[in-house]
């Protein structure tokens, strides 16, 4: 594995992290806190939307974000040949 390729691997990783952290921020702090008063005007079922994001939705999104990252990184590891060998 040459140095140039590793640099690219790291750059892509950083890009993934930045994109996913932005979504993390948007959903929790954006929808759940800063935008909650506006979103509360919209009602879905019995939930005001801002309240729902703050107490339910953001947590679901957190779980999804982690699994998306795992999926992306496992693919990236293989693409750049830095995946760990299967021991056992």
């Amino acid at each position: 594995m040459n140095k140039h390729n590793l640099k690219e691997y790291w750059a892509i990783n950083i890009r993934y992290v930045l994109i996913l952290v932005s979504i993390w921020f948007l959903v929790s702090f954006g929808f759940g806190i800063l935008g909650a008063p506006v979103l509360n005007e919209i009602q879905v079922g019995g939930f005001k939307l801002g309240f729902w994001f703050a107490q339910q939705g953001s947590i679901y999104v957190f779980v999804i974000l982690i699994f998306v990252y795992v999926y992306l990184m496992n693919k990236l590891d293989i693409r750049f040949g830095v995946q760990e060998e299967e021991v056992e």
Binding site: K48, S58, V63, L65, I66, Q83
Partner: protein, 588 residues
């Protein structure tokens, strides 16, 4: 069968299970003791992390707290789950690749400095001790409530159990007991939630139930009904809350970042075999945590609604049996201020302080309607009802009229939550002493066997200290939980993040940042919580940030100081930069 008999049965079964696991999983090397040899399956580790993380507070207090905070409860819900995203994306995989035993290990090696390691050890010890005292208290509380055992003996029994599996089995024993404890606690949390959700809304899934219409035929949404009840009684609407937006924001950040920086959580990701496993393991952990954390706000709404509709403007003599039971434990009280014999529930405190029951010759004195009389002076608000937040989860099964075994299950679940977290923290304390202090600083030539012995002695000693604080809690225990998160956020988190993502970060910058961040946060909290509690109101806070949220500012201060001081001093040595390079790739 009575609640007490059921409780003995459940607690007996679960405790035998924990002891059985302890005997089966005895650790024989330090690597087994510290990180279970790094061979834990990622799914197992995820479940153990969830139990490690969810403490007596999450299990017993959180839903109750939220039911009184309404929307503002979101700070805990998002704050204590959002940190896992940061863990998975920015910490866990790299620390796993680094492949040592503790957080101070990483800080010490990455910043090629004994000072840095020592600062990290001190932070780890303060954070863990603060936290563990609360857990032992939780154990004692459950014992005294459900088994009518003295708090003292409750704590002693809890200590003995933790001693068995933490001191014998180390990380290996803790991991497998935590898996068992997770199963117990989640079952105990969900069963009453299913029942109550079905009762109130006709839908047994609590996450959907609390957004559904009431089952009483009114066709009203549950949350609309609760908002209406709140407004009628003079509270602000349940779904909008009372804290200022910037305070909610800062507290949430502090809790999230603090979570990601807590040593007993981070160390769990040193126990899986591979980098790939560390990433997915955080995902599993968050799923297991989310099951409880998405149910808690639903329980909060159910119990709040049940409480208000049961008591508000009702005559005292119509109160169900549980009302009197909890009155006698001084966790619930009614003072008939207007003398109409009905319970008036309104905003504000009903009495000064927490209830002290009036007794004559050991007999409880009763008022005109038969209510338990207390010595406290009353306040001049209209509110006549004192409710301790902690009873919302404990009393929930009784309030909803569920069978006795459900209430007993809640007791076993509370114990599981407290014990699992206590064990994880005790391990961090013992590792800090035997590995980070003795092995790395005092006597590097120590044999593995000796080091293991010291680890066991340290764990044993830590159990005793924790037990002492459980029996004699310093008055400020509840107050200082904020310190644990604030400190983790303001000390570890920036140092680790910079250590991984900024190769040129040097020793001087990191140490200066940690110390300044730590002192800044500590002094702000100490000022408002311990020295001048009378000034602890929004008008005196900086930028409207409460002591709970100040860790966020401490973190920013840490980052700025680290970067500024780092610029003055030379870059870290070549081999450290190479190490940083190498932890970025799973294999290279």
């Amino acid at each position: 069968m009575s609640v007490q008999l059921w409780t003995y049965l459940f607690v007996g079964i679960t405790f035998s299970l924990y002891i059985g696991i302890a005997i089966w999983s005895k650790a024989s090397t330090t690597s087994e003791f510290y990180v279970a040899k790094g061979t834990v399956n990622p799914l197992t580790n995820g479940m153990a992390t969830a139990a490690d993380w969810m403490s007596a507070a999450s299990f017993l207090s959180m839903a109750g707290l939220i039911s009184f905070m309404g929307y503002d409860g979101a700070v805990y819900l998002m704050g204590w789950t959002g940190g896992y995203v940061l863990l998975a994306l920015t910490l866990a995989p790299y620390l796993r690749k680094f492949g040592k035993f503790t957080v101070p290990d990483f800080i010490g090696d990455r910043y090629y400095s004994k000072t840095a390691r020592t600062v990290a050890v001190i932070c780890a010890l303060i954070v863990s001790f603060t936290y563990v005292a609360g857990q032992m208290r939780g154990v004692g509380l459950v014992f005294s409530k459900f088994l009518e055992v003295d708090i003292f003996w409750g704590v002693i029994i809890g200590m003995a159990i933790v001693f068995m599996y933490a001191v014998l089995g180390g990380m290996k024993g803790i991991t497998y007991t935590q898996v068992a404890q997770y199963c117990v606690l989640i079952f105990a949390f969900m069963v009453p939630a299913f029942f109550i959700s079905a009762q109130l809304t006709g839908n047994p899934i609590p996450q959907i139930g609390f957004g559904s219409r009431l089952a009483d035929g009114s066709g009203m949404f549950l949350l609309d009904k609760l908002d209406q009840l709140h407004t009628e009684l003079g509270f602000s609407a349940y779904t909008s809350g009372t804290k200022s937006m910037q305070d909610v924001f800062f507290i949430t950040v502090a809790l999230m970042v603090g979570t990601a920086g807590l040593p007993h959580v981070i160390v769990r990701f040193f126990t899986v075999p591979k980098v790939k496993d560390a990433r997915i393991s955080v995902g599993y952990a968050l799923i297991f945590i989310a099951i409880l954390y998405t149910t808690a706000p639903a329980i909060a709404v159910f119990s709040r609604t049940n409480l208000i509709t049961t008591v508000s403007e009702q005559p005292y003599e119509n109160m169900p049996e549980w009302f009197n039971t909890w009155e006698e434990t001084a966790l619930l009280n009614w003072v008939d201020k207007n003398g109409d014999g009905k319970i008036t529930y309104a905003p504000g405190a009903a009495i000064v302080g927490s209830p002290e029951i009036e007794r004559v010759d050991g007999e409880i004195t009763r008022g005109e309607s038969g209510e338990v009389k207390i010595l406290n002076p009353v306040t001049d608000t209209d509110n006549e009802l004192y409710v301790d937040r902690d009873i919302m989860v404990l009393a929930n099964p009784e309030i909803a009229g569920l069978p006795n075994w459900v209430a007993a299950l809640v007791a076993a679940g509370g114990l599981a939550a407290a014990l699992s977290t206590a064990a994880g923290l005790l391990l961090v304390i013992s590792t800090s002493v035997s590995h980070d202090l003795i092995k790395k600083q005092i006597n590097p030539d120590i044999s593995d066997k000796k080091e293991l012995l010291y680890a066991r002695i340290a764990a044993g000693f830590a159990v005793i200290v924790a037990g002492y604080f459980g029996i004699n809690p310093p008055g400020f225990v509840a107050e200082v939980v904020a310190i644990a998160f604030g400190l983790a956020a303001a000390s570890f988190f920036p140092a680790i993040i910079l250590g991984i993502f900024y190769k040129k970060m040097n020793r001087e910058g990191a140490v200066a940042g940690m110390i300044v961040g730590l002192l800044f946060t500590l002094s702000y909290i100490a000022f408002f919580k311990l020295i001048f509690p009378e000034y602890n109101t929004p008008e005196y806070w900086w930028f409207g940030i409460s002591p709970e949220g100040i860790g966020t500012l401490g973190m920013i201060v840490n980052l700025l100081v680290s970067l500024a001081v780092g610029m003055i001093f030379p870059d870290p040595p070549e081999e450290v930069q190479d190490m940083v390079e190498s932890i970025r790739y799973p294999r290279a």
